[in-house]
């Protein structure tokens, strides 16, 4: 058993940014535990560009963005262990992990930062009927096969789900010589970015079918076709609208789930909406000394925001270790009227400064005001021509607005119609 001040679980964008900022806040006894044999996380397989516009004011590919943060961690001499799987954590912050070289390792940490990212929703979670033939992959698995391992998963492809990974993979498979026959989306809108719809589908004349889903997968040994159908407004398939598409591969891009198996072991309270921990404005969960940031906390749209959030979590964890934690009572921040969730869910009444709130809406809304309402009064209001579920919204409250929120009985983030 060893003792560590700060253990960061995950060496992807969240973990790297948290480590960097904890170090810069004066913490030197840091250990990053990474399951893969490389730092950088999922960015290593996201070879397309478009990362880093906010952080570095330039468009980088995923591996380039990761390398910038890996360099920062190496430059500071922060300790990390690769190929190391965390087996358990508990509420007293005991971390048990294992790797090939060291065998079993047990640490007692003063603070833990959960930076384990998210995983893809699998086929089993969406109940598609049909055979269990080969050729059904999650979009991220296909991405790894092509970009990391150099294998092509198939030639004729249907993609279910129009999230960004599905869109990116439509282009990627096309680049590698596959024919992408259709992207099928259950909802009447895409949760992906417009830019990806245009540059990954429209550029290559790949059809995007809204309000459609896959109702059956056919094939013996290998997928030979899928049957798709239109859905009604309750998302149930409409009889008679079925059409069969010949293909050898079905990619699933049907949502991401924060990976919180470890969090549960430490009694970390999770939000049923985000699937991630409930946190306060220090990014600390309701389990003392355990922090969370990045996609394990809530699924972000841009990695730039993961880095920003994680740098804050790293700095606050370092302060916590030094005994400078923000104490005392918290005020809850609720999401209502079109806003699906807000992170953090709590803010300490004590303390000064600004407060960043991140949220997602539940539908596409046009001409609305995004408001932070404290005891019936809007302390913040921003006019939005459009808000969509695919884009995370961020509000930064200034010191005065933050003070108002910290002092109120009930804080709510909501959408309101713009009065004509």
């Amino acid at each position: 058993m060893s003792v560590k001040n700060l253990i960061i679980i995950g060496g992807g964008p969240a973990g790297l940014a948290a480590a960097k900022s904890a170090y810069d806040a004066g913490e030197r006894d840091i250990l990053i535990l990474e399951r893969e044999d490389k730092l950088g996380g999922i960015l290593n397989q996201c070879i397309h560009n478009g990362f880093g516009l906010h952080t570095f004011k330039e468009e980088l590919t995923g591996p380039e963005y990761a390398a910038r943060y890996v360099d920062e961690v190496l430059k500071r001499g922060i300790e990390y262990k690769l190929g190391t799987t965390v087996l358990s954590i508990d509420k007293n912050r005991r971390v048990t992990c294992a790797n090939e070289k060291d065998g079993l390792l047990v640490y007692d940490a003063k603070a833990i930062i959960l930076a384990c990212g998210c995983r893809e929703r699998p086929r089993g979670a969406i109940n598609i009927a049909g055979c269990r033939a080969a050729g059904i992959f999650s979009a991220g698995t296909a991405q790894k096969l092509i970009n990391i391992d150099g294998y092509m998963p198939g030639k004729e492809v249907v993609i279910l789900g129009s999230g960004d990974i599905g869109l990116i993979m439509a282009r990627r498979m096309t680049f590698q010589g596959a024919k992408v026959k259709a992207v099928v989306e259950l909802m009447p809108y895409s949760s992906g970015l417009n830019r990806n719809i245009v540059q990954c589908l429209k550029d290559f004349d790949i059809p995007l079918l809204f309000s459609h889903t896959v109702v059956e997968i056919k094939g013996k040994g290998r997928v030979s076709s899928v049957v798709i159908a239109e859905v009604d407004k309750n998302l149930n398939p409409i009889k008679g609208t079925e059409q069969e598409i010949k293909c050898d591969t079905l990619l699933l891009s049907v949502g991401l789930l924060p990976e919180n198996e470890l969090s549960k072991m430490a009694d970390v309270k999770l939000s049923p909406v985000t699937g991630g921990a409930v946190v306060d404005d220090d990014m600390m969960t309701e389990t003392d000394g355990i922090f969370a940031c990045g996609n394990v906390l809530h699924v972000h749209d841009l990695v730039d925001f993961v880095s920003e959030e994680s740098e804050w979590a790293g700095a606050r964890a370092a302060a916590y270790i030094k005994g400078e934690k923000t104490g005392g009572e918290c005020v809850g921040i609720e999401a209502t009227d079109g806003v699906r969730y807000v992170v953090p869910q709590f803010a300490h009444r004590e303390g000064e400064g600004t407060l960043k709130l991140k949220m997602r809406v539940g539908n596409v809304f046009r001409n609305v005001r995004l408001c932070v309402n404290c005891d019936g009064e809007d302390v913040y209001s921003k006019k939005c021509m459009i808000v969509t579920p695919g884009e995370m919204e961020t509000i930064t409250l200034n010191e005065k607005q933050t003070r108002a929120l910290k002092n109120c009985k009930k804080a709510v983030v909501c959408l309101k119609a713009v009065e004509k």
């Binding site: 070879i47 980088l60 590919t61 990391i148 391992d149 417009n194 429209k202």
Partner: protein
């Protein structure tokens, strides 16, 4: 006349671009000036960054990710990708190293986007 969706922000304005006179392209349907600029660029000379992978020999990974150093003409995407076929790079490789120079005479190189150490 071309119909397109503006990609400058989540609004996704539906643009109608009149390119009957290529020297005087007219954009309608945009809500802001960025849409007009985007619409014009898309009919005059649309450009895209191209990213892909090539094999790497003697490295700690099998594939090296690459990108065009700058955006190239959209019409040349597949010809540009064809220049990567069969390319094998020896490790070590650093981000920014040239993988294929002057792709299709565009003056733009394919460069490495990953650091790959020798095995």
């Amino acid at each position: 006349m071309k119909e397109m969706i503006c990609i400058c922000c989540p609004m996704g304005c539906r643009l109608t671009v009149d390119d009957s006179d290529i020297n005087n392209v007219k954009v309608s349907g945009n809500t802001c000036p960025r849409g007009e600029k985007y619409g014009k660029e898309e009919v005059v000379c649309p450009k895209r960054m191209v990213t892909s992978v090539v094999r790497v020999r003697g490295g700690n990974v099998a594939m090296l990710s690459v990108k065009t150093k700058e955006a190239i003409e959209k019409s040349k995407i597949f010809d540009a990708l064809a220049t990567l076929k069969g390319v094998v790079v020896d490790a070590p490789v650093n981000i920014g190293d040239t993988v294929v120079s002057d792709v299709l005479g565009t003056g733009v190189d394919f460069i490495a986007t990953k650091n790959v150490a020798a095995k």
